[in-house]
């Protein structure tokens, strides 16, 4: 895990070091001596290898660098926007899992009925939708044609509301992004629950339970369901980085002030300290998520632990 992280940090750093220009090069009007002065101030004139060690030792001591565009520490910046992304991500996660679980299990139980076929087709459509196209269609339909939901942003323009009205206002702006994210991720998860449930329903202990004369409800909800959702907890651990990463495309389309948009903006303004530290943070979260998945799986399934 630690070597992987070191490798990740090296790759990220040298990708950025390979960029021929930096933030200050974007300002055409700076005279050469001032440019050199500014570069020296931010340590951009040092050799690449020593810049790597300066960066990485900073990261280890909790200093993620300094955003050149926003003129504030990257940690402050991330902290400001990450929670906007987090709240959308966590809501859509809850919706996705609840709906996928219910629909997946129902369609497994009613396998090969018209309901099941409808769900199967729906799953394919959901899995194949390009995120930005679906988002645009949603805006066109709900915000422009029907005009019942806001087009984008987090609050109305010039709004000064506080308290409950503020919460309601933000909530209204969240409906479209949250449903977009939910729709995008619901397909594969529903499929996962459906096939998991079908596999479990074929097992011998289910036949035993039915042979004992248990009610079908008990068989499905007590015996089958538990075994079907068990492997899914590892998937939940893989969602960890997604909670903080921000949805770049969704945030871009709905103009949501989250971390994904900051990333795109940082690319456009060459604000590389932000991008470097944030990408490293995401990679760390991904690795932690994988570790958590392993631990959870061993906890949930004792058979794994024997190895």
């Amino acid at each position: 895990m630690i070597p992987t992280l070191i490798g990740v940090s090296i790759i990220i750093f040298f990708l950025f070091a390979a960029m021929p220009g930096d933030y200050f090069d974007s300002f055409m009007r700076l005279n050469p001596s001032r440019l050199a002065e500014l570069k020296a101030l931010y340590g951009l004139d040092k050799p690449v290898v020593s810049r790597y060690f300066i960066w990485i030792s900073g990261v280890l001591s909790g200093n993620l660098g300094f955003s050149l565009k926003y003129q504030e520490p990257v940690t402050t910046l991330l902290n400001k926007y990450m929670w906007n992304s987090f709240i959308v991500a966590i809501l859509s996660l809850i919706f996705t899992w609840t709906i996928a679980l219910v629909v997946g299990v129902a369609s497994a139980v009613k396998q090969n009925t018209w309901f099941d076929r409808l769900i199967t087709v729906g799953v394919f459509v959901a899995m194949s939708f390009p995120s930005f196209f679906l988002g645009l269609l949603m805006i066109k339909f709900f915000a422009v044609d029907l005009n019942i939901l806001p087009i984008g942003g987090m609050i109305d323009t010039g709004s000064t509301s506080t308290g409950l009205t503020y919460v309601l206002e933000v909530g209204k702006h969240m409906i479209l992004p949250v449903s977009l994210l939910t729709l995008l991720s619901i397909g594969s998860l529903t499929r996962y629950f459906r096939s998991g449930m079908i596999d479990v329903l074929k097992m011998d202990f289910i036949r035993t339970a039915r042979a004992k004369g248990l009610k079908e409800k008990t068989v499905i909800f007590k015996h089958a369901l538990r075994n079907a959702i068990l492997p899914a907890i590892t998937l939940l651990a893989f969602e960890l980085p997604g909670l903080f990463s921000g949805a770049i495309i969704t945030e871009q389309i709905f103009n949501w002030p989250g971390i994904g948009r900051i990333q795109l903006e940082a690319v456009n303004t060459r604000d590389y300290p932000v991008l470097m530290s944030f990408t490293l943070l995401l990679a760390t979260l991904t690795i932690l998520g994988n570790l958590l998945a392993d631990v959870l799986y061993a906890y949930a399934d004792p058979r794994i632990r024997l190895k």
Binding site: P3, T4, L5, G7, V8, I11, I12, L15, F16, A18, M19, P20, G21, V121, F124, V125, M127, S128, F129, P130, S131, F132, F133, L136, L137, I139, K140, V144, P241, S245, I248, I249, Q252, Q263, L264, V267, L275, F278, T279, L282, A283, T286, I287, N290
Partner: protein
């Protein structure tokens, strides 16, 4: 000789069996035919179309769909239908080419890693782990930024995008193939190969990799869909294939201007719909292939 003949008839009948299974799946077959249609549409269509993709027509700006321009024209008077065909060329080529490259790299890396084990395995897999732990969209965005910084000429961006997509795509594939090779290695036909004194190369390329082909076909098919989606997302953000080269992604980019978005849906809905239908078809076909090729999935 006799033995060889027997083997051949057996494999061909297995493939026939698989084909029969695939044909029975109406969704998968429908997907297959749609993809064939889309390939014809994008590669043969432009030959039939009376318009050129970059031909400007100042008198026909922003016309809605009509009989001369079936899908209307854009702000420069270019025919949308023709651009859609050329965009399809780019999107399909990128999807297929980048997946082919990922499959080649991933299979070779995975096979070598699984076959030799030990330190080689460790190095390849750690490298794959590193690439896999960086979230792919941010990584692709950074790579695209790098591409822009180095002032890669617009007509070469296409190839760089392919390379980028396969760079992100191969580690997952390598891991899958490695797992397959690890279990195949333990089977008795590999003992036979050992006894025959075959070289490592023959073992890997003639005995181990062919056994992973069913899995590879499925993964590659589904991977093409993923690559097409990623390319379109990058192009939509202005980071992939850039205008004037048309790709479905950068055609949808028209929706970023509010007037076009609201008043001229014919600019961005056709490429979006083409993208959606193509990806659905590929996914349906991939799923059908999985059912046909994987005996464990058969009901």
């Amino acid at each position: 000789m006799l033995f060889k003949n027997k083997l051949e008839t057996k494999t061909s009948s297995l493939w026939k069996q698989n084909l029969r299974h695939f044909k029975k799946n109406k969704f998968a077959l429908g997907g297959f035919f749609f993809i064939v249609f889309m390939l014809l549409f994008s590669f043969v269509g432009p030959l039939v179309s009376p318009y050129l993709p970059d031909k400007l027509d100042a008198l026909m700006i922003n016309t809605p769909p009509n009989f001369t321009h079936w899908m209307g024209t854009d702000q420069l008077g270019r025919d949308i239908l023709t651009r859609l065909m050329f965009g399809g060329r780019i999107s399909l080529t990128i999807g297929i080419a980048s997946m082919t490259l990922s499959v080649i790299i991933g299979t070779i890396m995975g096979a070598i890693s699984g076959f030799y084990g030990g330190i080689i395995d460790n190095i390849i897999m750690r490298f794959a782990d590193i690439l896999m732990s960086i979230p792919s969209l941010p990584l692709l965005i950074i790579l695209s930024a790098l591409m822009s910084e180095w002032k890669i000429p617009q007509q070469y961006r296409l190839y760089i995008v392919m390379l980028m997509l396969s760079l992100v795509g191969w580690p997952g594939l390598a891991r899958l193939i490695r797992g397959q090779i690890l279990s195949l290695k333990e089977q008795s036909f590999m003992d036979a190969a050992e006894v025959l004194g075959l070289s490592d190369r023959t073992k890997i390329f003639s005995h181990l990799i062919p056994n992973t082909i069913p899995l590879l076909i499925v993964i590659a098919t589904l991977g093409v869909a993923g690559a097409i989606l990623t390319e379109s997302a990058l192009s939509f953000l202005g980071l992939g294939v850039t205008p004037p080269t048309a790709s479905w992604g950068n055609m949808i980019d028209a929706a970023n201007s509010f007037m076009d978005f609201q008043k001229r849906p014919w600019l961005w809905i056709p490429p979006g719909a083409a993208l959606l239908l193509t990806v659905i078809s590929i996914n349906l076909m991939g799923d059908g292939l999985r059912d046909a090729l994987d005996p464990k999935m058969r009901r």
